[in-house]
């Protein structure tokens, strides 16, 4: 026969003021809530990250496809003995070459409209009849051309700043981008690059979101700012040569 004695100990709880206990309980509850919230946040972050990954992947395919198509067309044409006339450039990068003094009012206005308010400022511009005419007006003050993918990428990654609350804020993370351009479907840097390079539907929103690029003076120097590129100088449309220049300015 086993007799179990249950010893009831009179445990004296430590006397803790009620406010402290309340505070502790609150803290614990809050912590639990916070963890839940954070779990959600982490999840969404993960989702976003995979999204950006897939998008980047997709874009690379797209760019490559485009490139190869071009090449293919050329080759086919060559075979047949025909000529391929490539489409006119839709994207331009415009740099202000000259300073702010003694500028003709018309030119001044055009530069203002392009947000080129400082020397060595650059912006992406969609090329159409209207903008081309504007560029013509401001020609002696700007150097422009058709940037390639690398240029666009480098500009956005290295020199990319956002206009947030009228402030020039560096593009430090994708959350910033998704916050302001999310509703346009642009959530990461690659999206921005894609939108600019392919001159998409939301080109204006994206370029407006970006602060005008502040570039360095080119290493190796200018040729002659006072002449057109064609004349051995620097201003005006230099088409693809802009990439060389920008490599030295970014």
């Amino acid at each position: 026969i086993y007799i179990y004695f249950s010893v009831v100990k009179k445990v004296r709880l430590p006397s803790v003021p009620a406010t402290l206990l309340k505070r502790r309980k609150k803290a614990i509850d809050q912590k639990r809530k916070d963890l839940k919230k954070f779990a959600k946040v982490l999840k969404s972050r993960g989702v976003k990250r995979t999204e950006t990954f897939r998008k980047a992947e997709k874009y690379i395919k797209e760019y490559r496809l485009k490139e190869n198509q071009e090449i293919r067309l050329k080759r086919n044409a060559k075979k047949k003995g025909a000529v391929v006339v490539p489409g006119e450039a839709r994207l331009a990068f415009v740099i202000r070459i000259r300073g702010i003094n003694q500028v003709h009012p018309k030119v001044r206005k055009v530069l203002q409209l392009f947000r080129l308010l400082q020397i060595n400022n650059g912006v992406f511009v969609k090329l159409n009849k209207a903008t081309i005419m504007m560029l013509r007006i401001a020609e002696p003050y700007i150097s422009w051309g058709y940037p390639n993918l690398k240029t666009v990428k480098d500009l956005v990654y290295k020199r990319g700043f956002a206009k947030v609350n009228k402030q020039r804020v560096p593009l430090v993370s994708n959350t910033l981008i998704s916050k302001y351009l999310g509703r346009r479907g642009i959530i990461c840097m690659e999206d921005i690059v894609h939108e600019i390079f392919t001159v998409g539907r939301h080109f204006t929103s994206v370029t407006n979101f970006l602060w005008p690029f502040q570039l360095n003076n080119p290493t190796g120097g200018w040729r002659k700012k006072t002449n057109h590129f064609v004349e051995g100088g620097d201003f005006g449309n230099r088409e693809n040569q802009i990439n060389c220049l920008l490599r030295r300015m970014i």
């Binding site: 980047a56 690379i60 395919k61 430090v172 993370s173 690659e190």
Partner: protein, 572 residues
């Protein structure tokens, strides 16, 4: 600070002991203590006992001086008339002149006294009395009340009848208020400054204040005790209750005086009886315990959480040079980079091959066999000598070599779900399922030291079949054994296998078993060879369990397992 309604009992002390009688604390002691009001009122009231001072009204003007004007090579100050004395021609009247009047001579009609509103005066009074009921404030004023039995100290009326200073002293001793008086004694000193010669030579501290109702000798008795002051309760004086404009004087109340306070100043419920139209000042806050208020449930449940987040400037780093930072912005960047590196490598190799071709080091056209050989990493058709696999430290789960190989379908399925590694034959930029690039570049040869291709590991760490070699992720769930020189692979790849066959892969037979029985079985095999070489094939059909393990390649080699049943059969 206690709430308005809490009114404790104050016991009356007599001859050093507590008497039976106790009085509930008068409401005045719960009134708001406003040191600012007290200070202001004290300043104003202190001016009221001033005696005027001024210089003589005709000082400096008791001359008939007149200015000599210009042209006399002297200053234009009025000069004393006449002659025959030093004084003649001297400057007069001006404050700068010797014997002239001072600038702005002081006048008696200066406003010496100040009016203070009655209610304001009473407010200050009430504050001062309330402060005297707080031991903290009394102590901070500097009174020695460590030994006093109670604050406010209420004493029996017997002291009102004290006749001699001795009695007064004994009383204070019994009250334990004597140490305060002692402090006064010790503080007797000369005044610093010119006041010494202006009949204000000595100064001392203030001691206890005795408030009485009826003077039956008390005033005269306490006259001789330095520092001690006496006051009748009906004529309380702010200058005595808050000397220097600072609250917290040590007050000793007689019982009858104490009882009068409620009548004098009223309680909030009842106005004062002895003052017309007066009631105690209402405090701005009923509960001044700020900490308690803040910690109360009502407030704690409503307030927002403290924002301890410190927003710091995140420095912008150049993603073109900083890989980590680039990865943060573009998680695909790593893949891109590795792909680019890989492609470059391939390009270089191809160039090298072309160069060699041109130079004649390589044949211009490579035979099919050669192509086949070089395109795919060489797989030795003859089974190698059984070599114990190197004991490599696997990161993650250890692969058990003794296990049965899983069915081909399951492996294939699994393989497809995971990220496919890049084969040398087919560079794929997108390492996810279903991704197909436009081009597949067949390579002539590749550095075939590694039996497998390098898997492009994404930054996510989803390296399905990554090498167990330095993976910083550590997230590789299943590590594959190194592409060993044996060519043993446990798991099959989803991509076209080395055979060149797609789809379901055949399980590679576990050589482990065969490895496990090298010596014993080889001996058997050696002996059994001549006997079983021919009948091995028909009997392979009979022995079923061993069949799935054998590939067509290995039919030539007699399996040791087949010997057993045969032997058993033979024995039978």
């Amino acid at each position: 600070m206690a709430t308005v309604n809490a009114r404790p009992l104050v016991s009356v002390h007599q001859d050093g002991t507590v008497t039976a009688s106790s009085i509930s604390l008068p409401a005045i002691f719960r009134a708001p203590i406003r040191p600012d009001v007290v200070n202001f009122v004290h300043d104003q009231i202190a001016k009221n006992t001033r005696q005027p001072y001024a210089v003589s009204k005709d000082a400096g003007h008791q001359t008939s001086a007149e200015s000599w004007g210009t042209g006399r090579a002297v200053a234009r100050i009025p000069r004393v008339r006449g002659g025959g004395t030093h004084r003649s021609g001297q400057g007069a009247f001006g404050n700068m002149c010797r014997g002239g009047r001072m600038f702005a001579p002081t006048r008696v009609w200066r406003r010496w006294h100040r009016k203070v509103n009655v209610t304001q005066r009473r407010y200050a009074m009430v504050s001062a009395i309330a402060a005297s009921g707080s031991p903290a404030l009394v102590m901070s004023k500097g009174h020695i009340i460590h030994e006093t039995p109670e604050v406010p100290l209420v004493v029996g009326d017997k002291v009102e009848e004290a006749k001699t200073t001795k009695e007064a002293m004994m009383f204070l001793r019994k009250c334990r208020a004597w140490s305060d008086v002692l402090k006064v004694y010790k503080s007797k000193r000369f005044r610093a400054g010119v006041g010494k010669m202006r009949n204000r030579r000595r100064i001392q501290r203030t001691g206890p204040l005795i408030v009485y109702n009826k003077d039956q000798g008390l005033v005269k008795a306490f006259r001789g005790i330095p520092g001690a002051d006496t006051i009748q309760v009906k004529r309380l004086n702010l200058l005595k209750l808050a000397p220097g404009g600072h609250v917290g004087r040590f007050v000793i109340w007689t019982e009858s005086a104490f009882r009068k306070l409620d009548k004098l100043y009223g309680t909030w419920r009842k106005p004062s009886k002895l003052k017309t139209n007066y009631n105690l000042p209402t405090p701005k806050m009923t509960n001044t315990d700020l900490m308690r208020i803040i910690q109360s449930d009502e407030i704690q449940n409503v307030i927002k959480r403290p924002n301890r987040k410190v927003l710091r400037r995140t420095p912008k780093l150049n993603p073109l040079t900083n890989k980590k930072y680039m990865g943060k912005l573009n998680p695909y960047a790593n893949v891109e980079r590795k792909l680019a590196q890989y492609n470059q490598k391939i390009k270089i190799e191809r160039k090298e091959i072309l160069r060699k071709k041109k130079a004649g080091e390589l044949p211009a056209k490579i035979s099919k066999e050669e192509k086949a050989r070089t395109a795919i990493p060489p797989k030795k058709k003859e089974p190698r000598e059984k070599v114990e696999p190197k004991k490599i430290k696997y990161i993650g789960k250890k692969m058990k070599r003794t296990k049965k190989p899983k069915s081909g379908d399951a492996a294939a399925k699994k393989g497809k779900l995971q990220k496919a590694p890049l084969k040398p034959g087919k560079p794929k930029p997108g390492a996810s399922k279903g991704v197909k690039t436009g081009k597949t570049k067949p390579l002539p040869s590749k550095d075939s030291k590694t039996g497998k291709a390098k898997p492009l590991s994404s930054k996510d760490g989803k390296t399905g079949k990554a090498k167990p070699l330095p993976s910083k992720d550590g997230k590789t769930k299943k590590t594959k054994p190194l592409p060993s020189k044996d060519g043993k692979t446990k798991k099959t790849k989803p991509l076209p296998t080395k055979d060149g066959k797609t789809g379901g892969t055949k399980p590679v037979p576990s050589k482990a078993k065969q490895v496990g029985k090298p010596k014993g079985e080889t001996a058997k095999a050696a002996t059994a060879k001549p006997a079983t070489s021919k009948p091995a094939t028909p009997k392979s059909a009979t022995s079923k369990p061993s069949q799935p393990k054998s590939t067509p390649k290995k039919d030539a080699k007699p399996t040791p397992k087949q010997d057993k049943p045969k032997q058993a059969a033979s024995k039978k």
